[in-house]
């Protein structure tokens, strides 16, 4: 395992050197490096429990770590296919390529960390290297917000980590965290500080503000990694703080709601809030990438709730949703990136009818959003269904309602880019664009195939998850051949797929057989005597959900709250500056006297 890190470390240096010579070369190299990483981590699947030390970093292979690392590597690997085509847009391509691999090293290190210090070091490495990538996109502000929100998480984690190390006297993750079974008060503090990092990274309400900003303005090739990959780091922290950290024991004495301790329930409510909020906001978005970012917020809510449940089904659902969402969201972002590469924009109102020029990209996107929305027969359905099962079994009605709401709402937001970007009439200026480059298409097809496979045979993954559950000592999810068994019944996705596939074929045949509709160009209007100055206004992608937008125009947003907080901090700084740093020697002497008086009076008593 150490070899993997050394190899990736060397290859990031190599990619820097190559990129200095020829940026595209370095970018192709990132594909090779991440593929090599993927293969070598895959080969570790049977060496669970092996520990290794590298310098002062200690690593251990665990099933869950392996699972997370595989997800991340998949996303990094497929997104790397897009890197070579964006090199000319970036001002520091060499830095991009090497930081791309550095953030990969950081994330993998995080999942394999054996002790808390290693965990934190890898965490920070991933955060700041990805922050430096995001800044190469459209917005410095976004990168900054990303860093600050992450820093809130990082610093609270650091506090938790150090306090844990101090109290327990060890830094080995399992040993240190299980210490708190005997010290519930300190445990509650550590739990809160620790999981805050997870919340900020997953983008749980109210820490979601960085997601739309960072995902929306990061370089197009990096948005899939952010959404599909790095967000999952937060899920890992959430996993650690509820599964490894004895959260249910620490809060054993607190008030319980349907068997869930109140603090954990509160976190679930936050997860539910981000489902609802993310969904509603996503519907409103005008920019395709921001829309997907908000959908990540919503999906992050599912993942958080699933993991926090720590039970047979929802937990399995949460872990599986990680993978499903990673694959689907990466595919969707990549599809949008492919469109942006050809058209130069991600604004939905400026696009339309791209299906006529980029049909494969369209298919990729379609399948991705089906999975994201949780429509059978894609993988997203299985995981959401499992979470729903778990929630309803425990009787957590409120959360189940939110989950259901999110599922239905997701139809609305995934449909918007589908119709606004891909369907409808083709704008004249995009008349001559071509299908995406074969290299990019390859990457997208890999993800699409995975999405389909996960939908048809979810048990491939559920087996691994069952293994994790056994390690944690909770009831494992039961799989039987192609069927997944739950207490409320079983589902066999192969059957579902067959039914859906059959229906799809039927429709396809009908579509082929029935007479073709005539294509009408965007400029081809009935107002014959009038010249169309702004054709995009005529496209129905324009003001797609205008009624909804009007509906929550006045809704409060969270971002201004943060801005106001930042303003308040600035004001406090200004006050301090004018009060204590007055450019007047009299003032300073006065302060000396005041301090002297305070000390003397205080000392006199």
């Amino acid at each position: 395992m150490t070899m993997i890190f050394i190899f990736l470390g060397l290859s990031l240096l190599l990619s820097y050197v190559l990129s200095r010579k020829q940026p595209t070369l370095g970018a192709y190299f990132t594909i090779i490096a991440s593929l090599a990483g993927l293969i070598s981590v895959y080969l570790l699947r049977n060496s669970v429990g092996v520990t290794e030390s590298f310098y002062y970093l200690n690593f251990q292979i665990t099933t869950i770590g392996w699972y997370f690392a595989m997800i991340l590597l998949t996303v990094y690997f497929t997104s790397a296919f897009f890197n070579p085509f964006w090199m000319d847009e970036l001002i520091y391509p060499a830095a991009y390529n090497s930081l791309y691999l550095l953030s990969l090293v950081g994330t993998i290190g995080l999942f394999f960390a054996q002790d808390l210090m290693t965990l934190f070091i890898c965490w920070e490495t991933a955060v700041w290297s990805s922050m430096l990538i995001v800044q190469q996109g459209k917005s410095r502000q976004a990168a900054w917000v990303y860093f600050v929100i992450s820093a809130i998480g990082s610093m609270s984690t650091l506090f938790a980590v150090l306090l844990t190390m101090y109290l327990s006297g060890t830094s080995e993750i399992t040993g240190a965290l299980t210490y708190f079974t005997t010290a519930p008060v300190a445990g509650a503090l550590v739990f809160g500080a620790f999981i805050l990092a997870g919340l900020t990274k997953i983008g749980i309400f109210p820490f979601h503000v960085w997601l739309p900003l960072a995902h929306g303005s990061a370089p197009h090739t990096f948005s899939p990694v952010l959404s599909g990959g790095l967000v999952k780091m937060g899920a890992y922290i959430a996993y650690l703080s509820v599964a490894v950290f004895p959260a249910y024991q620490v809060f054993g004495d607190s008030l319980k709601i349907q068997g869930v301790p109140l603090p954990i329930y509160g976190l679930m409510i936050l997860g539910a809030a981000s489902i609802v909020y993310g969904t509603l906001r996503a519907i409103q978005q005008e920019d395709a990438k921001r829309l997907l970012a908000y959908s990540s917020v919503a999906n992050g809510g599912y993942i958080l709730i699933g993991i926090l449940m720590m039970d047979q089904m929802a937990f399995a659902g949460g872990l599986m949703h990680l993978l499903n969402h990673a694959v689907a969201s990466a595919a969707a972002f990549l599809a949008i990136a492919a469109v942006a590469k050809r058209t130069g924009t991600t604004k939905m109102s400026e696009l339309g009818g791209i299906i006529h020029r980029m049909p494969i990209t369209y298919t990729v996107y379609l399948i991705a959003i089906i999975s994201m929305a949780g429509i059978p027969p894609m993988g997203g359905f299985v995981s959401k269904w499992l979470i729903f099962q778990g929630l309803s079994e425990k009787g957590l009605i409120l959360l189940a309602t939110a989950a259901a709401f999110g599922s239905i709402g997701s139809y609305m937001y995934v449909f918007r880019p589908l119709s606004a970007v891909f369907l409808g009439q083709l704008a004249p200026k995009y008349e001559h664009i071509k299908e995406a480059n074969p290299v990019m298409v390859t990457a997208m097809l890999i993800l699409t195939a995975m999405s389909l496979l996960l939908g048809v045979l979810p048990n491939l993954v559920l087996k691994t998850i069952a293994k994790i559950q056994i390690e944690l000592g909770i009831n494992p999810i039961i799989v039987n051949g192609t069927a997944t068994l739950t207490e409320n019944g079983s589902v066999d996705m192969l059957q579902v797929f067959t039914v859906f596939g059959f229906g799809f074929l039927l429709i396809l045949i009908l579509f082929m057989v029935l007479p073709k509709s005539r294509r009408v160009g965007l400029m081809d209007t009935y107002t014959s005597a009038e010249f169309i100055h702004t054709p995009e206004l005529l496209h129905y992608g324009h003001s797609f959900y205008a009624p909804f937008e009007r509906l929550y125009e006045k809704w409060p947003s969270v971002l201004p709250l943060y801005k106001r907080m930042s303003m308040k901090l600035s004001e406090l700084g200004e006050w301090a500056e004018s009060f204590f740093f007055h450019p007047d020697p009299n003032r300073a002497v006065l302060w000396i006297v005041v301090v002297a008086i305070v000390v003397i009076i205080g000392g006199a008593q």
């Binding site: 450019p583 007047d584 020697p585 009299n586 006297v593």
Partner: protein
Amino acid sequence: MIQFAGIALILIGIYGLMTTKHMIKLIIALNVLELGANIFIISVGFVKNGLAPILTADVPSDLLNFVDPLPQAMVLTAIVIGFGATALGLAVARKVYGKYQTYDLSVIGGEE
């Protein structure tokens, strides 16, 4: 009793430093403060009916009546240091005057 004079001068000096905005006056106030401090230091070594700590032909041989020479030595050093700071302060003040034609800091305002 001499301590009171020292402390009073220190306080007067501080008062001056707190109120005036005139650079030369600030330096004068600083000097008053330093003077007060020096007097205070001298007073620390004082002995009742003490003599200056210099051996001459007619001091008693038990030497018990000498005041403490160490504070005096310190004051010597402190005076010179105060002199140095004052000289430098005046030079800076003149530089400011050369630039703004005034010694009044409130007229100059905050120099950015």
